[in-house]
Subunit: 233 residues, 2 copies
């Protein structure tokens, strides 16, 4: 697995200083010696090739060698995520980050059982996923918002929602011009009234095959379907 650490971007020519958490990860967990090559993600969301200069498990210095250009995902996707259990969110989140979702809006639905995960746990999971997958920028988090207000988020993007009553409908996706929004209900799904609210706000039901997908599967499969949908010319 590639070695990646996080630090504030230093002044030009200066080394980046790793905080105690990152120094511990670098020196104790990954046992990197001085001179080791690695990647550094800075607080501007940029990725650098870098080399360990000096330090220890409490404070290490890393030289930035050159910026690394990471291509953007094929399109900007906004996930309107009907709040499931916080544990389910944290389990799902790494996959959402890997596939490259730009924004996650927490949405309170009729069948949502609780609020979003706490900020600290969320930040830890996001950072671990970025470390693993090499994504330099974290997704934006918005909300929670009520379901009725969810369509007001990014109304410039075409909107879709996974809707089990329309399962089997899978060839109804026209080519996309740019980004897209996808709403996924919580475990237990959306209520018919919620689906009607979304349709009246011009979100369209998106088929994800003939079977009932769990929320986490539906989010990944739906995002993949939109991410790699044909682009309108």
């Amino acid at each position: 697995m590639s070695l990646r650490v996080f630090a504030a971007r230093p002044l030009a020519g200066e080394p980046a200083i790793l905080d105690p958490d990152e120094s511990h990860y670098l020196r104790r967990v990954r046992r990197a010696p001085d001179g080791a090559e690695l990647e550094l993600i800075d607080d501007h969301g940029e990725l650098w090739s870098a080399r360990v200069r000096s330090g220890d498990a409490r404070r290490s210095e890393v030289d930035l060698l050159a910026p690394r250009v990471v291509p953007a995902p094929p399109r900007e996707l906004v996930l309107l995520l009907g709040l499931p259990e916080p544990a389910a969110v944290l389990e799902l989140l790494p996959g959402l980050i890997e596939i490259g979702v730009a924004t996650i809006v927490w949405v309170r639905c009729a069948r949502s059982q609780s609020g979003p995960p706490g900020d600290n746990r969320l930040a830890r999971v996001v950072r671990a996923a970025q470390r693993q997958c090499g994504r330099p920028g974290a997704p934006h988090f918005v909300g929670p918002v009520e379901l009725a207000a969810a369509p007001e988020q990014r109304p410039d993007l075409p909107g879709f929602f996974a809707w089990e009553q329309r399962r089997g409908l899978s060839d109804d996706l026209a080519p996309l011009v740019g980004g897209a929004r996808l709403l996924i209900g919580p475990e237990g799904g959306l209520t018919p009234a919620e689906a009607a609210t979304l349709e009246s706000a011009a979100l369209r039901p998106l088929g994800l095959g003939p079977y009932t997908l769990r929320s986490g599967t539906a989010a990944l499969v739906g995002l993949a379907r939109l991410m790699f949908a044909p682009t309108a010319r």
Copy 2:
């Protein structure tokens, strides 16, 4: 959650007999009384609307009312799955079943750490996923086979493999005529030699975005990309 049980298909007009496991699930876990409506998946892989007739938590009888037609997934997908840890396979499997993969071929790769999960655990996880998602037929399981022999599986279908060195390549997928094969490496990925073997057997690298996906994410995202790819006319 919908209530679904498994039983052998009875003679016409006779009730289906639930075995002790299924009777326990029906009566103890789901607390279904006589007369409860449910769905039954028979040993021919067909789904019925049904009603509980009689019995208890050791042996229950269920009347079949009418067959239910479940549409097939948009296309037949064969997953050539580089063997990760058995625990990771079991965690991944429900999503693969929900998205509708037809066949899973276990593939021994250079970085595979172990064999496939045991038959009993596999069967339990498959059945639980079918119960949850309403898929009447289980996927076929094949292998394990060595990576060099994996391209011999279903050579009638166009083949793809997720290959991190080609990440960022995401617009290289021509419309598909029918089904497709997808090979996913184990945790740690394919070796360059393995990728060369696959390319020489006419499998093509498939881009899944700019970041490094874990095996489980790559399998779901890659299958979703193929499942909902445009169909050649």
